[in-house]
């Protein structure tokens, strides 16, 4: 019985690990190196998928926060929080990989480019969201306000992007490196690998989120048990 349980837990891990192995084989062995940007272009196979997953995380967090406010089902709050935690991890990866790519290609680690700026600000809003959840005493009020913060962050996103985009039009980023962003990325192999990487990262994201969700559920149970113990002591 126990062995079936562990087998069930192992299957998703094995699937994601297999996808990761195939993905890295595709990136480093199968796909040809892009002619203009060279080896550094390969970071795109990590950067674009993690950026995609970060954006999905924001949308999922906002949807489940809304559902929590609507239905007041704690499960939705736990999903929103777990997604935000994993999204934050992928957001950090997106910022770091973007900077590693930008330096040799754009000649600078950071520019005022709209997508970069929006990603950074959203990252900071979600850091504040996670911090809030850690600061606030557990309970319905914390969950409710956390959902409000997530929704406010999501509502703010288009305004942040629009403002950053117009700012960029007024202050174009200085691109002083020998290549530019769109140089030569046209091979069909590149798109195949990119597509596979997006699927792999989405699977990895789902797996990590399912882990954080289970940890969150266990934490909530622990908090509940603690509160019951207090109540029992209080009555005695």
């Amino acid at each position: 019985m126990a062995s079936t349980y562990y087998l069930k837990q192992l299957v998703p891990l094995i699937v994601v690990a297999s996808f990761l192995i195939v993905n890295y084989w595709l990136i480093f062995i199968w796909v040809p190196t892009e002619i203009n940007q060279g080896l550094v272009q390969k970071i795109f196979y990590l950067h674009i998928p993690v950026a995609w997953v970060s954006m999905v995380a924001i949308v999922v967090t906002a949807i489940f926060s809304f559902l929590y406010l609507w239905k007041r089902n704690e499960k939705y709050d736990q999903i929103a929080y777990s997604t935000a935690q994993t999204g934050l991890l992928f957001g950090l990866m997106m910022l770091v990989t973007g900077m590693i790519w930008a330096y040799p290609v754009w000649g600078t680690w950071w520019t005022g480019e709209a997508k970069l700026t929006t990603a950074l600000i959203l990252f900071l809003i979600y850091v504040a969201y996670i911090l809030f959840r850690n600061f606030y005493p557990p309970g319905g009020k914390r969950n409710r306000i956390a959902a409000v913060i997530a929704l406010l962050g999501a509502i703010d996103t288009p305004i942040i992007y629009y403002a950053a985009d117009i700012w960029q039009q007024n202050h174009p980023p200085a691109v002083i490196a020998p290549t530019s962003e769109s140089a030569g990325i046209a091979s069909s192999e590149i798109y195949i690998v990119l597509f596979f990487s997006v699927i792999t990262m989405t699977l990895l994201f789902t797996l990590i989120t399912s882990f954080t969700y289970r940890i969150q559920k266990a934490n909530n149970l622990l908090e509940f048990v603690k509160s019951q113990k207090f109540y029992a002591n209080y009555n005695n």
């Binding site: 911090l131 606030y136 309970g139 409000v148 913060i149 929704l151 406010l152 703010d156 305004i159 117009i166």
Partner: protein, 229 residues
């Protein structure tokens, strides 16, 4: 409608009278702004003669205003919790949105007073006297309203927490980012002598921010201020 406005004014007046008696918040907000401006002023002395320092004026002004505003807004609802008066406010026969609007009005007055003192300082220190124009009033008032709306909402969120100041500032600063960009760019265009039509899209961003954030805050304020577990 008049009755609602009257109650909003009573709540705002309560905060304003309390603050004008003690002046703690206003003074600390001003000192923080002046400190920020001083730091930028000292750093920018190394650029004297190499760049036109007036290009920094908009950025310095809004940096000072954002951070000092973030700190002072955070106290808006927390002060009620410290005194225990939040219960009185919550049991009063008025909607939470009216309490919110009253606090918002008081915060708007506080940040506008702070802006009135810091703006001339920035203009003088950073050689940006062109900033004294009628358009600046519009830009500063719009930006301040945006700051006050977001600040009051996050103040309600952080109320009752021990580390409310840190948390409110952490939530407030990234959220008002579009407002900061719009304010800085508009002021810079005023300093460059450009007509209002040139920065109308920035004014539209500030107006959009105000509309969306105010609407969202009014819709969700009951969820924030609800006391049930």
């Amino acid at each position: 409608m008049m009755k609602i406005l009257k109650i909003v004014w009573i709540i705002a007046k309560k905060d304003l009278v309390t603050e004008f008696r003690g002046k703690d918040l206003l003074i600390s907000q001003l000192v923080f702004s002046i400190l920020t401006i001083s730091i930028f002023a000292v750093i920018s002395t190394s650029f004297v003669g190499t760049i036109d320092r007036s290009v920094l004026a908009g950025g310095v002004f809004f940096t000072a205003l954002t951070f000092s505003g973030g700190i002072s807004f955070s106290r808006s609802f927390s002060s009620e919790y410290e005194k225990g008066t939040h219960i009185t406010l919550l049991v009063a026969p008025i909607g939470n949105e009216i309490i919110y609007l009253g606090k918002l009005l008081a915060n708007f007055v506080f940040i506008t007073i702070s802006a009135l003192i810091t703006l001339p300082l920035v203009a003088v220190i950073f050689d940006a006297l062109q900033i004294f124009s009628p358009e600046t009033i519009l830009v500063v008032l719009l930006a301040n309203l945006g700051f006050a709306i977001a600040g009051t909402t996050y103040s309600a969120i952080g109320a009752g927490l021990k580390s409310f100041q840190l948390l409110v500032t952490l939530l407030f600063v990234p959220s008002v980012f579009p407002n900061i960009l719009a304010g800085v760019q508009s002021l810079q265009m005023i300093i460059d002598g450009q007509p209002i039509s040139e920065f109308s899209q920035w004014l539209a961003i500030m107006a959009g921010f105000i509309f969306i954030f105010l609407l969202a805050s009014l819709l969700m304020i009951d969820l924030i201020m609800e006391e049930s577990i």
